[in-house]
């Protein structure tokens, strides 16, 4: 096997905790009520086109993309719209959501529900992009950037490499891992679809070395597909960061402040690629995804196929409920996810995991003096100096923050993870970025 690749500087090795990597994906089933947010992506919220009392099916359009940087939102269940107003989200704030009471389980008639794999791609690139757009697909790795924009290459830009991100470097999460094991061929066909849109024959599925089963299956299958290959990467956080992955795979760097396209690459999460396969070959809009429910306080950790809008509490109950020692519930991974206030908040297109963590695993919050150990500098995969960003941010030194490239921070949190003085370095980086951005407007 070819050499394992990785990004050259920084990175950390948090405990992996991949305890669910051998748990097959199971259907989570249907809750009584789903809450479907109209904003599950970066950009403007979708415009609601249904009213209270409307009957919907799984796959019915609920809200229309508002502009280019936005995405359609579909119903994930069949039933009746009972509320079209704001509901408490995961942070406890009110968010615009469509509440649907589940009745039966009917799918829109256009969706091909057969389990057959369709390899043939008869569509033209423009048709494919249109199908992706009308399926409401966004980057499911967490960023939520609308996929149609990411796959439409503007005039003058040349893409030569499609990278499928199967790294999943966050601890605990195994949703992408399981998807690659169980839907390997669908993902490969998905890669062929994007290859066709881009007019290239070079898709690389990047998988990190702690997923041997996925590597084996994908390596075997890609032999029969021209233009799709597997590349094994070293297990290191944040290997799955878009810029880090491009550097690892191609040796190129995305110029500061620019997009992966400017390095000739497009990176898509394997979950997104699977959604593209379903949208193009099966006419299925994006309304369900794989979610890992895990954590050291989770009684029965599992990987679920979940309808968007399912309250997290529904999944938590399925895994044994919240224990007394549960200190935090995390939506997403422990490094970049969010710490939830309201566990009735729904799973969205972007929720890769629900984690129940004990206090033992929490990052300590009592801050002590910086001892200049330099561990943050060694850990930063971008080459920034987090300790200095913290100093400048504290003192509101905006020009100096600009001068040390604070805007290039990818917010991976490696610095705050490693800091022995428990300084919330990532918070300082985020605040610093915000302050710099303010002055630009």
């Amino acid at each position: 096997m070819a050499k394992k690749k990785t990004f050259p500087i920084g990175g950390i090795h948090p405990d992996k905790h991949k305890i669910t990597s051998d748990k097959p994906i199971v259907d989570a089933g249907l809750p009584e009520i789903v809450y479907i947010p109209v904003k599950q992506h970066i950009g403007s919220p979708a415009k609601i086109i249904v009213q209270k009392g409307d009957k919907v099916k799984a796959g019915t359009l609920l809200a229309d993309a508002d502009g280019i940087v936005s995405a359609d939102v579909f119903s994930s269940v069949s039933g009746e719209v009972i509320k079209v107003e704001e509901v408490e989200g995961e942070f406890g704030y009110l968010e615009s959501m469509i509440t649907i009471k589940v009745e039966g389980d009917e799918f829109a008639s256009s969706i091909d529900l057969s389990p057959d794999l369709i390899k043939d791609i008869p569509y033209e690139p423009q048709e494919i992009i249109e199908k992706i757009r009308s399926a409401g697909i966004v980057g499911m790795g967490g960023a939520g950037y609308p996929t149609p924009i990411k796959t439409s290459v503007p005039e003058g830009k040349k893409i030569d490499t499609l990278i499928l991100n199967g790294i999943e470097c966050e601890p605990w999460l195994t949703a992408d891992d399981r998807l690659m094991i169980e839907k390997a061929e669908e993902i490969i066909v998905g890669a062929k679809i994007i290859n066709k849109v881009l007019g290239i024959q070079n898709a690389i599925i990047a998988v990190d070395e702690n997923k041997p089963e996925a590597i084996e299956i994908l390596s075997k299958l890609t032999k029969t597909y021209v233009g799709v290959n597997v590349q094994v990467c070293k297990t290191k956080y944040p290997q799955g960061g878009e810029k880090q992955l491009i550097k690892a795979i191609t040796g190129r760097e995305v110029p500061s402040g620019r997009l992966p396209m400017d390095a000739g690459c497009i990176v898509q999460n394997v979950g997104t690629v699977f959604a593209i396969y379903e949208a193009v070959q099966k006419n299925k809009p994006l309304f369900e995804r794989i979610v890992t429910v895990s954590g050291d306080e989770c009684q029965n950790p599992q990987n679920f196929r979940v309808r968007v809008g399912t309250p997290a509490s529904f999944l938590i109950e399925k895994c044994g409920g919240i224990t007394e020692n549960t200190n935090q519930v995390i939506f997403g991974g422990p490094m970049m996810g969010t710490s939830a206030v309201n566990i009735n908040a729904p799973i969205t297109k972007l929720t890769s995991g629900i984690l129940l963590l004990s206090e033992e695993l929490s990052r300590k919050l009592e801050e002590t003096d910086c001892i200049r150990c330099g561990k943050c500098v060694d850990a930063c995969p971008v080459g920034l100096r987090p300790f200095l960003i913290a100093q400048y941010t504290r003192n509101n030194m905006i020009d100096e923050l600009k001068g040390i490239n604070v805007l290039d921070c990818i917010e991976c949190g490696s610095c705050a993870y490693i800091c022995p003085a428990h300084i919330p370095l990532l918070d300082y980086c985020k605040i610093g970025k915000m302050e710099v951005k303010k002055t630009k407007k």
Partner: protein, 333 residues
């Protein structure tokens, strides 16, 4: 009731206290060698120094800073041990107390405490004592297994002291010509295990290397500073030795004698007073090595590690200003 936090929601189990505790553990082999070879006097110096450093820090934080005590972060204990390691075993307790005062109160707390000081506190304390009490600070005990409880130790010269006083013309001949001063130089094995004269903690390269291995294993420090510091000294003296065959330049002796091992493993690697980036650490370490060789060979002092590190400490802010990693996606530096 759920708690909330900002990302990341999990952290490394290593904190300031565990890092400092690991340094203390790494210092223990050298302390044991000192006690074994220099007897009960060495133990007294170590205990006095640690107790004094902890006391000064406690008093300053409690009565001047009016803040919660910081002595549980082990850093004062490290300073105390390192100060003791840099003293001769025969030093009177009151001098240790003064040295600890200078180290903690002047070199550390006056700058604002842990993380803020420019110079290595233990070295400042040591150099202060060295300049103030040159006689007591250079009474080098001869190591002795048998007289463990005998406080009246015999004194002799250190290896570097012997080399310093060699006349260049006579020493140009090799060891076989029977120069009487040369006969006093211990063999490599004695120097390696530490059966030689010197400061408490510097004598045994073996014990210090054990400490280094432990700290590398626990990821307390990286290999850069010790490697480049020792490597620079070895390379420079080695080249001079090959060119002149003068025994004063003999590289293995330079490696194993004096404070080089102690300085390169424990003093130059002090987080607070060394550069933040790996690049900066390499420059810092090479600078320490260069200055050590220059002072050892061309100054009035036989030993140069303390001064070399303190001088390079002063350059750390400058090194930090110009040495940092290249930022991803920006031009090559």
């Amino acid at each position: 009731m759920l708690k909330i936090s900002t990302a990341p929601h999990t952290g490394s189990s290593t904190d300031t206290q565990t890092l400092m505790r690991d340094v203390v553990i790494a210092l223990i082999p050298a302390a044991l060698v000192a006690i074994a070879f220099f007897g009960i006097g060495a133990l007294k110096v170590i205990i006095t120094s640690v107790a004094a450093c902890v006391m000064w820090e406690y008093l300053v934080v409690r009565y001047l800073f009016h803040k919660p005590s910081t002595i549980n972060n082990f850093s004062a204990i490290i300073t105390g041990m390192l100060l003791a390691f840099n003293l001769p075993p025969s030093i009177p307790a009151w001098m240790v107390l003064i040295g600890a005062f200078v180290a903690i109160v002047i070199a550390k707390m006056a700058f604002g405490g842990l993380g803020k000081n420019l110079f290595n506190p233990a070295l400042v304390g040591r150099v202060f004592l060295f300049i103030s009490f040159p006689v007591q600070m250079t009474l080098w005990a001869k190591p002795n297994w048998k007289d463990f409880l005998n406080a009246d130790v015999q004194t002799g010269a250190t290896t570097l002291g012997i080399l310093k006083h060699l006349d260049a013309s006579t020493s140009a001949t090799s060891l076989t010509h029977g120069n009487s001063a040369l006969a006093d130089i211990p063999d490599y094995w004695d120097m390696f295990i530490g059966y030689t004269g010197g400061s408490l903690g510097e004598i045994s390269a073996l014990a210090l290397l054990l400490g280094l291995i432990y700290m590398l294993w626990r990821k307390v420090i990286t290999w850069h500073i010790p490697f480049y510091y020792i490597g620079t000294v070895f390379l420079l003296t080695g080249v001079m030795w090959l060119a002149t065959k003068d025994v004063r330049y003999e590289p293995v002796t330079h490696l194993l004698s004096g404070g080089l091992m102690l300085g390169a493993v424990f003093m130059a690697t002090d987080y607070v007073t060394s550069p933040m980036s790996q690049k900066g650490k390499v420059i810092f370490a090479v600078g320490c090595g260069l200055l050590t060789v220059i002072i050892r060979l061309y100054s009035a002092y036989p030993e140069g590690v303390s001064f070399a590190i303190l001088i390079m400490n002063a350059f750390v802010p400058l090194i930090d200003k110009y040495c940092y990693p290249r930022v991803y996606g920006t031009g090559r530096k």
